[in-house]
Structure formats: C-alpha cells, structure tokens
Amino acid sequence: MTPVKLRVNGSTELLELDPRVSLLDALREHLGLTGTKKGCNQGACGACTVLVDGERIVACLALAVQYAEREITTIEGVGQPDHLHPLQEAFVREDGFQCGFCTSGQICSALGMLAEHRAGMPSVVTPHLTDDEIALTEAEIKERMSGNLCRCGAYEGIVGAVQSVAEEMSQ
C-alpha cells in the first residue's frame, strides 16, 4: 500500500492505496464520489472523464498514485442538485440525456473542451491550423466531444447544450 494525498473538489484526502487502484476506483470506491461513472474501463467511452488541473482525462486509465497533489474536479465539484452549473442546466433544457449514465463524463469533457477551445487549441476539423480564432461550429463540437459515447444517442441534445453554453460564456 502507498500513501496518496488526493485533492478532489477542493478537499484534501489522505488514502492508503494499492498502486493498481485507478483514479476512477479511488474516487468511486474509496471516496464515495459515484458521480463519475465506470463504463468500458479501457479509455474508449469517456464515462469516467474528470478534470485534472482543469484538463479533461479518462480516470479509468489513470493510476491514482500518479495523480497525487493535482487538482481533481469531478461532477460533484461542478454543480449540486440545488445549484446546477449552467452546462448542467443546458443539458436539462436541451434534452441532452436519456438514461444519464454518460452525462457526468459528457459535462466534464465539455468543460475541458471549452477551455481547450478558449486556449486556441485546434482540432482535426479546424479549417486552417494556424488561425488564431477558431469558430466553435457544430462540426468542431462533435469532433472535440467524440471521446464520449452516448448509447442512448442523445448527441443532438448534447451538441445543443454545449453550443448554447459556449455562446453564453463568450457573451
């Protein structure tokens, strides 16, 4: 067992972990933060997406011991039932979920993605790689969100939710 100091949603948690424990399992099984979902457990579905120092990663392929002292944000740190984040409100408004299993990953991923876009990072569908301003078109949102699968197929609502919040944030 290895002592690991995890900083999650603004709190510091001291854990004793086997190095095999993934960040995903540390969050869910050791800290009780079950908002982050376990889907494929091999990096392919995006359900376990969390933010580390503001950047999105999949927690299933991350060993918890690797993420000591980093600022981890899970869906519980994004909003609460009585105080939703604007993106969570947009998911409700735009019909962005059905079963909801992928939703926390979608929202964390979208927050990371919007930050990447604000930082001027291109995607593979960006028309001109060297442009300073990249329009956040529907094609850009779909490509940048392609790491998150929704088996219900609520993609249109998800794109709509991301689009509306991106517009709000840029106004």
Binding site: T2, G43, G46, V58, Q66, E143
Partner: protein
C-alpha cells in the same frame, strides 16, 4: 491486474536508475495500463516518468529544427504554434489520433512505444507471437481486416497503430535515447523493427534505455504537408490507411517530397519507393498514381485486408493532389 511496485521519478538519474534495475517507464498510461489490466503486460515495477523535466518543445538553435521532450503530451504538441505552422502534418496526425481526453494524457515517448491493436495481442485464447513468442499468429487465417500488408512476415502481420509516428518518420525525426551507460540518437525510421521471426522484439531499444526526446530537423518542404487518415468512423478510430505527405513543386516538377504510410504496415512506413518515382517528375496525376503503385507493389494482402492495397494507393494520390493544388493556390495568391 497483477501486483507491481511503483516509484515516481523526480529527475532523470532516478528514472534511468529505475529503468536499469528493470522498471518499466509509465507515461500517460493510455496503452500500458490498459494492457496490464488485460494481463498482456506484466511489469514487476513501474517508474512514473511524467514528472521528469522533459515536457518542453524547444528550438534547436544550430539546425533550426525543434526538440520535443519525451513527456510532452499529444494535445500540447498538436497545439504548439511552431508545429502548426512549420510541421502541419505532425499537428494533424496528433489531432487525428484518439480522443481529447487521451491526447491530454498520452506522451510523445509513450506514443512511440505503444503496441499494436491487433485483437489477438489481447486474446489469451488465441495464438500471438507478440504476446507469447513461438505460439503462432492467429491473425493470418483469422480476423485480419485491420492487419498490415507491408513489412509483414509469416510470423506476424500486426499493423503499427501510431498516427504521430507516421508523420515523424516522414519528417526525418531522430529519437534521443538515454541510459546510465550512454546517450544515443536513432533515426525514427530505424527505431521500430519489422516482425521477421521475432515479432515480440518491437524496437531497437535496450531494456535499460529511455526515450528522452524527439528531434525534428529544419525541413522547408514540411510547411506544405498534410496527414490524411481513412477509418471506419469519422473520429476516435485507428487508421485503415493513413498518409503523411510533404510536397514541394517548382515549375510543375516535384523538387522535394516526404511520404509515409500508417495502418498498412508493421512499422511507421516511410514510402521510399514512391518518393523515388516522385522526385524530379512532373507533379501530375499520372506520376502520383505511378508512385503509389510502386510503393504498394511489394504488398502481401489476405482476403479481408486486400482492400487496403487499393485504398492506400488512392489515399496517396488524393493527398498529393491536394498538396499540389494548395501549392498552386499559394503561388496564384501572391508572395508565399
């Protein structure tokens, strides 16, 4: 997953010492952790190298190229302004790979050492000479739609999965490798080994060596370069065929060219036969077709992946045609 020891390396000597003692370097973990969970990789000890001061992209003052630290993450390298303007094929190849989350984790060094996505590598019920040397190759007479047609042997037809490495091999990248014994530089084109009769030996690295950097030479032709990836779905899928190409045309003739292929070969494949046909020849559709045919002449295909031979040729032609047209547009649009 089997138990393993874990150490984190704050500096290079610590990391090199751990690797010399048998530890496996752990970068973003996007491939290694997954393979450990499937019991394909069984390291006794991992040394986390992500904290090493190897996360910078620096100008090479003498040659005018770029030095990319092995811990630079894929997303950061793709976003680097110098890479986007001077080596667009590299930025495009990175952005065509994996998902946003995985690109934020994956490192340059780890990307070069990722293992094939041939399904039999993970299938403990099937033969795989990469997983169990001498057990045979289930892909040859099994599911091989994604397998290689170039550089194969009777012992292995697994395709190399990296997009980034295809762009890097086209750009004449050089890999810097360090151990406690020495530092050496390997042209990327020589890092990966064709399977031959030892498919489990995938690279030229010794067990105690760590990739510390990748160097890109100054390469004016790379400013006109593209990465084109053909896959089963529009995003987040491995290549069936990919083409990394850089082209310089003057007075209608090809005066400089770099071409490499992904998805079709056992290693990141520099298309030297095609380059030979192209260099000095008129930049026409006919030349592009001839070059593509020359490169694929040595292909050995099987029933499910025979389509790749034609698809690779068409993708080469389409990529070169587009680069030639972009070049012409630039010329008409005024000073470059």
């Amino acid at each position: 997953m089997r138990a393993f020891g874990y150490v984190s390396a704050p500096d290079l000597p610590t990391a090199l010492g751990a690797v010399a003692a048998g530890a496996r370097p752990l970068g973003g973990g996007t491939n290694l952790v997954d393979l450990m969970r499937d019991d394909v990789e069984r390291p006794e000890t991992l040394v986390d190298v992500t904290a090493l001061p190897l996360a910078g992209v620096d100008e090479l003052q003498e040659s005018g190229g770029l030095r990319i630290g092995a811990m630079v993450r894929n997303s950061r390298l793709a976003a680097d302004r110098r890479v986007r303007s001077r080596y667009p094929v590299l930025a495009e190849s990175l952005l065509a790979g994996a998902s946003g989350q995985l690109r934020n984790m994956a490192t340059v060094g780890g990307n070069l050492l990722q293992r094939t996505r041939c399904p039999y590598l993970r299938d403990h019920a099937a033969a795989c000479n990469k997983r169990e040397p001498g057990s045979g190759c289930a892909a040859i007479d099994g599911i091989h739609r994604g397998s290689a047609v170039l550089g194969t042997s009777e012992h292995c037809i697994a395709a190399h999965p990296s997009d980034m490495a295809v762009a890097l091999v086209a750009l004449d990248a050089v890999v810097e490798v360090q151990s406690l014994r020495a530092t050496r530089r390997i042209p990327l084109a020589e890092l990966h080994r064709p399977p031959g009769d030892t498919p489990h030996v995938e690279t030229d690295l010794a067990p105690d060596e760590l990739i510390t950097a990748v160097e890109l030479p100054a390469l004016p032709v790379a400013r006109t370069s593209r990465y084109r990836k053909v896959r089963d779905r529009a995003s987040f899928a491995f290549a069936l065929v990919s083409v990394a190409a850089a082209l310089e045309v003057r007075d209608g003739d090809v005066v400089d060219v770099r071409l490499a292929l992904g998805g079709v070969a056992t290693t990141p494949w520099r298309a030297r036969e095609a380059e030979r046909v192209l260099l000095g020849a008129p930049a026409t559709e006919e030349t592009f077709r001839r070059a593509a045919a020359a490169e694929l002449a040595s292909a050995i295909s099987r029933p499910q992946n025979a389509f790749k031979v034609e698809l690779a040729q068409r993708t080469i032609v389409a990529t070169l045609r587009r680069l030639a047209a972009e070049r012409a547009d630039d010329a008409e649009g005024g000073p470059a």
